[in-house]
Amino acid sequence: MSHTFTLDGRTIPFAEGQTIMQAASAAGVFIPHLCYHPEFKPHGSCKLCTVKVNGRQTASCTMRAAPGMNVESDTEEINGERRALTQMLFVEGNHFCPSCEKSGNCQLQATAYHLGMMSPHYDHFFPNRAVDASHPEVLLDFNRCILCSLCVRASRDVDGKNVFGLSGRGIATRLIVNAKSGQLADTDFTLADKAAQVCPVGVILRKRRGFAVPIGERSYDKAPISAGAETTEGR
């Protein structure tokens, strides 16, 4: 690990082939992200991990680190853009944190706190999305989907099942279940699947077990998301 780059004035070592995100995480520096997960190939879609490399914007989860790079991340300008992206995610779905089981363990909520988001700012879309309660063990609440595709990647790359997919284009993109009926009950999905463990928000939930962890004892009650840069706790 002989190479280094500069991140917000701090020298960050990296190994050949590491992305900026990987090197920063290894060095204990938090870069906000939602679609990135250290166990999966980067997707580069949420754009929350956008940084400036030598003055040009790029996704830090896909950009390989190179010697001598000057990377800016924790700046007012970039955090403002991240906040706007987060606000858009909130208004595009139906995110009612007060009655969401994932509250306190939700990466979207924790990121919003981290970025100082005080309101959704934009008009809510209030999309009409049904829940899929057909599966005996798992509930899918599409209202909260942020299209990070982590469940798609986990099901395809780890579970080998291809249960989920993203369908449609642009603003019409949506998460679908790969069954003729479109129902989760008609797939071989189980609670033990990796795809059941990776949702950063409250879409994929274990049934009949709500609010089991008291307020104050949830992941982001104990420490902000920025403190857990090296882990995926709370997912």
Partner: protein, 487 residues
């Protein structure tokens, strides 16, 4: 039991006075009064004009979200909705009997809420009326005025409420809108540190609650002419009654009495509530009018809340509150007291009981246990009933085989008191407004009558005595004749 003054014979020829809004928070309410040219009252209505729709939008949601979601109905006593929903859903998950730890923790949460809500209502919202007079100087008739004139009373009010809120926090996770109760039990018990922190203060809380009972008892008994007659109407009354006829806010069976105290029904399992109670819709209000089926719409309406509960039970299990209950019953002279202002007295007796129960529970090591959940045979339907600070609260749910809610019916405490509140303000309007020019002080009399019931809209009506009240006199052609604004 009449509906006099509900509907005027010829409203088109009358002037309309509207108190609007009576509320900004827990249900938007307004009062309309129709007067003729001599200011004689022909029609008085309390309208709850806000539509909230919880019963509809929780349909299609997973059942385990419900106790957390429905408590957002209310910011004053969310614990009531939280627990009533949890009780209904206990049955859905087959938890017919909770573990001792879970039930005691829920009781602690609920009695903490009863304490904080009653303290808030009495000290913050009503004591200015009771200590200074209904038409006293409006600039003084608020909690700040009370703090200036009676600093110790005001301070105790704040600290009593704070204690109740702390009880809720340690059991539910937050002072407002926590998550403690889950279908089948609780998600946390008390730590020794949390219990000991509450134990430090609970003895003051009991004593201050006793003093509060004595304060309102003195105020009431010193002016029986006013307190026994203001807004009075006779009615049936109903509440849950606990084991052996005890006053019980958390669980029991339904008991109803007529205006003379004679039993209408008793020992009713609330799973069957819809065989005994029906709701009538009237075109002028979003709030329904419940009544006992056996007596019909005309005669079957009733009141709930402290005045009903304290006179409906056979005894109170804690000694100080039982002593005060007997004092109250003796004062009433052997038959039920129907005076709305007696709600305040009974409310303070209940606050004292809540304080004593909290003290007893804090000495029970079951609260520290970790056996918190049970489940059994899954059912499709459940009813949860609880005595909320304002009265009997019904939550009824049906859940399908995929765990989604298909039906919800809620009868909230204030709804149960709908006809009763209308009767009280009609009496007050007839007694105080009839033939007089409307003034701020006279309007406050209407609000004093509403407040006695502690409806959910009470909070906003009375916040710091600066209710954003606007009254307009409009003639039959809709022209503004006279306007009065409190702001």
């Amino acid at each position: 039991m009449s509906y006099q003054l509900e509907t005027a014979a010829h409203p088109e020829s009358l002037r309309r006075v509207a108190i609007d809004p009576v509320s900004r928070v827990e249900g938007h309410g307004k009062v309309t009064i129709l007067l003729d040219e001599q200011n004689k009252v022909h029609q008085v209505r309390l309208h709850i004009v806000e539509f909230r729709g919880f019963e509809k939008f929780i349909q299609g949601r997973p059942y385990w979200e419900v106790p957390v979601m429905v408590q957002r109905l209310c910011g004053i006593c969310p614990v009531s909705h939280h627990l009533a929903a949890a009780k209904a859903l206990d049955l859905i998950v087959g938890a017919r009997k909770l573990t001792p730890a879970a039930e005691k923790l829920r009781r602690l949460m609920h009695y903490g809420q009863m304490l904080q809500s009653h303290a808030l209502h009495f000290f913050h919202l009503c004591s200015p009326d009771l200590l200074f007079g209904f038409d006293s100087d409006v600039t003084r008739r608020n909690i700040v005025g009370v703090a200036m004139a009676h600093p110790e009373t005001a301070k105790r009010g704040v600290l009593l409420r704070k204690f109740g809120q702390e009880v809720i926090r340690v059991t539910a996770g937050k002072r407002v809108h926590g998550t403690g109760a889950v279908p089948g039990g609780m998600n946390k018990s008390l730590t020794v540190a949390e219990r000991d922190e509450l134990l430090k203060d609970v003895y003051h809380v009991v004593q201050w609650s006793r003093d509060a009972v004595h304060l309102i008892q003195k105020v009431h008994t010193q002016d029986p002419g006013l307190y026994n007659s203001f807004g009075i109407f006779r009615s049936n009354f109903m509440s849950l009654v606990g084991h052996g006829g005890d006053l019980d806010f958390y669980h029991g069976t339904l008991r109803a009495r007529d205006d003379n105290g004679k039993l209408i029904f008793d020992g009713v399992d609330y799973q069957q509530y819809d065989r005994y109670i029906e709701e009538e819709v009237r075109p002028w209000s979003y709030m329904k009018f419940p009544f006992f089926k056996s007596l019909g719409k005309e005669n079957g309406w009733y009141k709930v809340g402290p005045l009903a509960r304290v006179q409906n039970c056979d005894q109170i299990s804690t000694p100080f509150a039982e002593h005060e209950r007997r004092e109250f019953v003796d004062y009433a002279g052997g038959s039920p007291l129907h005076a709305p202002l007696a709600y305040h007295w009974t409310r303070m007796i209940e606050m004292l009981h809540a304080a004593e129960v909290i003290k007893e529970l804090l000495h029970d090591d079951d609260l520290l246990g970790d056996d918190l959940m049970v489940e059994g045979e899954r059912r499709m339907e459940g009813v949860g009933v609880i005595e909320a600070p304002r009265g009997t609260l019904f939550h009824h749910y049906r859940v399908d085989e995929n765990d989604l809610v298909t039906m919800a019916n809620l009868i909230v405490s204030t709804t149960n008191n709908n006809q009763a509140m209308n009767e009280a303000i009609r009496h007050v309007a007839r007694r105080y407004l009839h033939g007089r020019e409307v003034t701020e002080g006279l309007l406050n009399h209407i609000e004093v009558a509403i407040r006695a019931f502690d409806p959910c809209l009470s909070c906003a009506t009375h916040a710091l005595g600066k209710m954003p009240l606007a009254v307009e006199l409009v003639d039959a052609e809709g022209r503004l004749v006279h306007a009065l604004s409190r702001s």
